[in-house]
Symmetry: C2
């Protein structure tokens, strides 16, 4: 990371005037964002980026990021804002191409903090092969924000005819999970609450478009993809069950949760299946293709721990059931939603 | 406006759990946003919207909206969030097609307020002929936001070969202004400071894509378009002068400012040329096409007051000059940016 291009001695903190449309804002856009995100398509000097899309349907998505704290083991709000939107595009079966980046800064935010976040975004975008092509900056008065919120929207292209979506899920589908659960949520909680474990739990924040595109390029019939962010595996499976109107049965023993994550969840009274992840997804494929899909997923480090965790049983009243290690089956309900505010 | 579909008696305010990924968030997405924005392409049930773009280059833009107060004479944060992004697409010469809508809600925001804003967004989108196709909702704890921030990103299509941009501005261009200046900024200031005038100053917030597309469809050689938001006319002209490396000369007598806006600016010590607008733009066209362009602009109500306000004089050190009513010329500088926080 090079030094912040805005002279910190002169502007140690973000001022309201940095959002006012005048000289200071101009300097911030040109020198800080322009320097960090520099790429031929970036058009900070006009109101929109213009590009020729490759052939194929496009996917379009948006997410705002309000995670607290801004920096946590395994990531920060900047890399998260890139991975999250890249992953949402991947879940639609799209190859991520272009991102926008919009910042809501709180007056008083250290300029150095903004620079660190922006550098992290650019590094994450580079690793994902996407370009940040347009942006916006607003400043709100002190006490009316919380340091820094980021919105990224993304555009990607579908290169296969397949359009994975919850409406395509059907009985006989196998449910594949790309890796262990609960690390992002517990990394955030540990950082926020100052919890000490033997070793720090690192967020699983990571882009997952590579294994997803590998599945599609292999010609596998991927019916649905869903990343396991807010509400975790439980929310994702319940949402899919409701849209597809199916019953899904999963097995607890097939679902990997690291021991330290498990212990942290127990301590805080949380269910790891409700906890958010930022580099995990489920894929629904026909049972006959499950082994081929797992083999493909396991060739990518981010989904090396992929496993078959269950199946779609039948059409009917939407329901997700979980079979425990001792063989008892219980309903895996949608979380009520109070546990973990501001994890993404 | 129909009644809020979330039972106000049960949930009078937004709770942290409305952003938690569980049942309450699901209800908010399905019943409030899903109801208001209902359209065939909206995909609240998956991570991204997918569509077939029409032929042509695409424009992509984003803006966050943090205006205070949320409701003001002539508009609100919802309609502003649609008009602003529609206008940014138009300034790239694009026909606006699809918007995303991402909300950062502060815990405690009245549910009724959210519903009013969302209905206003949908109504503005309908009038602009665009669809809100994807979205996101986050909730931050009380005291860490300011009621409601909105981000919209937009995608549009360029239907003409022309790609207007500041790099195309050249000596001999006429500078056209689409109407009177200063109303949005002064409407916000009056509402915020409780100023009373004989009649309320209404924001000029409005979509301007129709007159812009009319210019392009008429085959006029539009070199550059720029809407006059933060920093007003002064910032827009200075930015363009810097990018194109030209000297621009404008005449004060050609620039319309309503008498009440002028009086309000005097009272607050503001220059109307620095004040933000949300339905005004400048167009740079070859002098020989200025009359035809003005005639086209004047057929649209939003730009009925269009006028030729100046010209691009020569290449060289970037500079904008303003000739006053008595014939004296002065430099029209970039505003420093402290005057008007959170007007958009």
């Amino acid at each position: 990371m090079i030094n912040c291009p805005i002279p910190i001695s002169q502007y140690p903190q973000v001022l309201l005037a940095h959002g006012g449309g005048g000289r200071l804002m101009h300097q911030l856009l040109e020198e800080l964002f322009g320097r960090a995100f520099a790429n031929p398509m970036l058009d900070l000097r006009h109101d929109a980026a213009v590009f020729e899309p490759p052939p194929g349907p496009l996917a379009f998505t948006t997410d705002s990021y309000v995670v607290r704290p801004l920096f946590f083991p395994g990531g920060d709000i900047g890399s998260l804002a890139v991975h999250g939107t890249v992953n949402d595009l991947a879940m639609a079966g799209a190859r991520p191409l272009w991102l926008s980046a919009a910042f809501i800064l709180e007056e008083g935010l250290p300029m150095e903090t903004l620079w660190r976040v922006v550098c992290s975004m650019q590094e994450a975008a580079r690793r994902c092969g996407v370009h940040i092509v347009t942006g916006d900056t607003k400043v709100v008065d002190k006490g009316k924000g919380d340091g820094l919120f980021i919105n990224t929207a993304g555009v990607g292209v579908l290169e296969q005819a397949l359009r994975p979506g919850p409406g395509h899920v059907r009985p006989g589908d196998a449910v594949l999970l790309s890796g262990d659960l609960g690390r992002h949520g517990m990394a955030i909680m540990a950082a926020r609450e100052g919890l000490q474990f033997e070793s720090a739990i690192e967020s699983d924040s990571a882009p997952v478009h590579e294994p997803v595109l590998a599945l599609l390029r292999a010609g596998l019939e991927v019916h649905c993809l869903r990343d396991l962010t807010r509400g975790g595996l439980a929310a994702a499976l319940n949402e899919i069950a409701q849209t597809a109107r199916v019953r899904i049965a999963v097995e607890q023993t097939a679902i990997a949760v690291r021991e330290d994550v498990h212990a942290a969840c127990e301590l805080l009274g949380l269910d790891p299946l409700h906890v958010a992840n930022e580099g995990r997804f489920v894929a629904f494929v026909p049972e006959a293709q499950a082994q081929a899909a797992l083999a493909t997923l396991r060739t990518h480090p981010v989904s090396a721990g992929a496993a078959r965790i269950g199946r779609v049983v039948e059409h009917g009243e939407p329901l997700v059931t979980l079979k425990s290690a001792i063989g008892a089956s219980r309903i895996l309900d949608m979380p009520s939603g109070e546990q973990l505010p501001r994890i993404c």
